[in-house]
């Protein structure tokens, strides 16, 4: 085996690949070969490093130099300068936004300092397409040890003792779910991995599957042994091609090594998995709908009970867990339930992966212990708000969640604290909003999504959400009245109480939580026909300040609808009845004379 003196880890996650990280890896390899370093230096394509904002990311090992925003043209410099001459390529180093200093070691970056990586432990570390690297990181030894030394009951006890709760959003205790499925008697049972990540802006499950597919496969086999199932199904959306490709490779490798199939580890236990594709419907993340979709039926939820643990796929007991939940399992067995319990909070042990997005400086994938405050996530790890603007709110839990405000910044995040403050954990999407975001429009955006994604089975969700959307539309167009606010709230509460499944029961949350947290914004829309954030187009008015206008006529010339009139060298005027609010005049004005009111 060649012994490499340097490893170059190139991020192969979807984000970095979209910015040509594959070409970087190819160029690095070529340059390494040209300089006869092929026996000294290894190029490894890894999973996501999480720091997507700065991608493509390249990390040099063993000196731990972290290069950001690398382009394929930089590859040669990395080889010639960093590897051969031993000089860091300064222009590609991360610059600390506060101190403006170059930081070369990722451990000194604020983005990584507060993170603890359990589910993401191998992402950005191993080559996900190589089972050997996973095995070298103690991969499959949790499965082997369990099969060798534990009964299913004993193994389930470990999961129960760890306090692990479902990371898909519900937060149901995983060990308890396994136990219920074990106790449901049947000749055939199933393990299902829910990889139907549907929240807008969430990409943690995809990144885990792309960066460390074996950890999920190993956990599924462990679950299979615990509940008495020999078949596993992964339900993944077809729009995740890279994750699917890596999963397929991983499954093949596991079969080749005899880690999947018959008589695993000589224990007599059989297990194998199949991949099932979803068409990308939000409702199919709900476990009963997911199961129907896998059976070839419409992706519609049914009333629980019966729970899938009792009667699931093909009417057999089925244990459904989310990708991130599974990714935690091998680590819990390797390090022990006590170790896991020491991380996080008492009721929500462990960590949570969040997809940090929106108006925050460091967009990316992060994993923090439960109980970390929003302030730490947004300002320390996330690096604060883009462009120095003011923080306004953060939406957690996607379309089912709610928004949290400045008042919640010091709230330690866990399942229960988020629910108590009117939001929810959800799968871990976190969308940060600044002062320019209108909360009514935000609620409308999520309702638009829910209306689109409602399966249509129950009327509160199918019709109610549509009506909610129309009310919000009316308000953002400035046509709402105060009665609409009451109607909005009443209807939202009715939908919450009467919808059939989680999708409908939670869809009014963005409306209710924005109404609770930003009542003044709703009132400004209906009472004064004003959008305080200046986002609702219909409520905006472009005006020319007569004192600042020099009469240069530039605005009148760029206006596509001839709404601006005025004589040369005289202040101009915008006819708001013609203006389409495109903003072209404001962009062109050299004197700052045009503003929005």
């Amino acid at each position: 085996m060649a012994r490499f003196k340097n490893h170059i880890l190139v991020c192969g996650g979807t984000g970095c690949r979209a910015s040509e990280s594959e070409a970087i890896a190819v160029n690095l390899k070529r340059s390494i070969d040209e300089n006869n370093l092929e026996n000294d230096v290894q190029v490894v394509r890894t999973g996501c490093f999480g720091f997507c904002e700065k991608g493509p990311v390249v990390k040099m090992v063993p000196d731990n130099t972290f290069y950001v925003h690398v382009t394929p043209d930089d590859a040669e410099d990395l080889v010639l300068e960093h590897l051969i001459k031993g000089r860091k390529v300064e222009r590609l180093l991360y610059v600390d936004p506060e101190t403006k200093e170059h930081v070369s070691d990722s451990k000194h970056m604020d983005f990584y300092k507060k993170q603890i990586r359990i589910a993401l432990r191998n992402c950005g570390f191993i080559n996900p397409e190589n089972i050997d690297e996973y095995i070298a990181r103690d991969g499959y030894s949790a499965l082997g040890t369990i099969l060798d030394e534990m009964t299913p009951e004993e193994a389930i006890k470990v999961v129960k003792d760890s306090g692990l709760r479902g990371r898909g959003g519900g937060g149901f205790p995983t060990g308890l779910k396994w136990e219920i499925t074990l106790k449901s008697e049947s000749e055939q049972k199933y393990v299902v991995c829910n990889a139907d990540e549907g929240d807008p802006g969430a990409f943690m499950d995809r990144s885990i599957l792309e960066g460390d597919p074996h950890s999920v496969l190993e956990a599924m086999a462990i679950c299979g042994y615990c509940i008495g199932a020999d078949a596993g199904l992964i339900y993944i959306r077809a729009e995740y091609p890279l994750a699917i490709k890596r999963l397929k490779i991983a499954i093949e490798q596991a079969r080749d090594y005899g880690l999947f199939g018959k008589d695993i580890f000589g224990s007599g236990f059989n297990f194998d998995v199949e991949i099932r594709y979803g068409a990308g419907a939000f409702v199919c993340g709900e476990e009963t709908a997911l199961i129907h979709s896998m059976e070839g039926l419409r992706g519609e939820p049914t009333v629980k009970p019966p729970f899938p643990s009792v009667s699931g796929y093909k009417g057999k007991p089925t244990n459904v867990n989310n990708v991130e939940t599974f990714a935690n399992i091998p680590a819990i067995f390797l390090k022990g339930a006590d170790w896991f319990r020491k991380i996080g909070t008492e009721k929500s042990p462990g960590t949570k992966v969040f997809a940090l997005a929106g108006k925050v400086n460091n967009v990316g994938l992060i994993e923090v212990p439960m109980g970390t405050t929003l302030r730490e996530v947004i300002f320390d790890i996330g690096g604060g708000i883009k462009g120095g603007k003011k923080f306004k709110a953060v939406q957690t839990g996607g379309p089912s969640g709610g928004c949290l405000t400045v008042n919640h910044l010091d709230l330690p995040i866990d399942y229960d604290s988020l629910i108590a403050s009117g939001s929810m954990m959800g799968s871990g999407g976190m969308i940060v909003m600044d002062e320019d975001d209108c909360m009514v429009s935000m609620a409308k955006f999520y309702l638009d999504f829910t209306v689109e994604e409602s399966c249509g089975k129950c009327s509160p969700c199918r019709i109610g959400n549509k009506r909610l959307y129309e009310l919000l539309e009316k308000i953002t167009l400035g046509k709402g009245d105060e009665g609409d606010l009451t109607r909005l709230r009443n209807l939202a509460n009715v939908i919450k109480d009467t919808a059939l499944c989680g999708l409908g029961q939670t869809s009014p949350n963005p409306v209710l939580s924005t109404m609770d947290n930003f009542p003044e914004e709703y009132e400004a829309h209906v009472k004064e026909s004003k959008c305080p954030a200046g986002q609702c187009r219909a409520l905006m008015q472009y005006v020319i300040h007569p004192k600042l206008c020099t009469g240069c006529t530039l605005c009148a010339r760029v206006c596509p609808v001839d709404a601006i009139s005025g004589d040369k060298k005289m202040p101009h005027f915008i006819d708001t009845s013609i203006c389409i609010k495109c903003g072209a005049c404001m962009d062109k004005c050299k004197f700052g004379a045009i503003s929005i009111q």
Binding site: D63, N64, L83, F125, G144, F265
Partner: protein
């Protein structure tokens, strides 16, 4: 491809494969192991720094000493190349000059394994930003 028939197979395999990623594991916790920087600028390479580095990597590995060996740029001691900087866990870095493979072996045996200083130390006269 070899099939994994039992847990022992897997453990054996893991131990064999560990070497493939040990470099990455080590770079994750550099403070807990011996860190060696070999000055590999033009003058260092011309004086045989590459041989020194290769020798140290092989020797430390065969003796199973947890160490990270990295190359670095010119340290400025061109008169004493090859130069290496050795940092034992919890200790201050020590720079050695004129490190050929023989000297390297002495440094490993005496300083790295037993903490005894050997001849050829260059007194440090600089501060690095890493220390901040």
């Amino acid at each position: 491809m070899s099939k994994v028939k039992n847990l022992q197979d897997l453990k054996k395999m893991r131990d064999e494969l560990k070497g493939k990623i040990s470099l990455r594991e080590k770079s994750d916790h550099p403070e807990s192991m011996v860190q060696i920087k070999v000055s590999m600028a033009t003058c260092g390479i011309a004086s045989g720094a590459r041989d020194t580095m290769n020798y140290m990597i092989d020797e430390l590995d065969s003796q199973a000493i947890d160490a990270v060996v990295t190359q670095t740029g010119c340290m400025g001691y061109c008169y004493a190349e090859p130069t290496i900087e050795v940092t034992l866990p919890g200790e201050k870095p020590v720079v050695f000059g004129h490190v050929n493979t023989k000297k390297a072996s002495e440094i490993i045996e005496k300083y790295i394994k037993n903490g005894e200083l050997v001849d050829g130390i260059i007194p440090d006269s600089y501060e690095t930003i890493d220390g901040k």
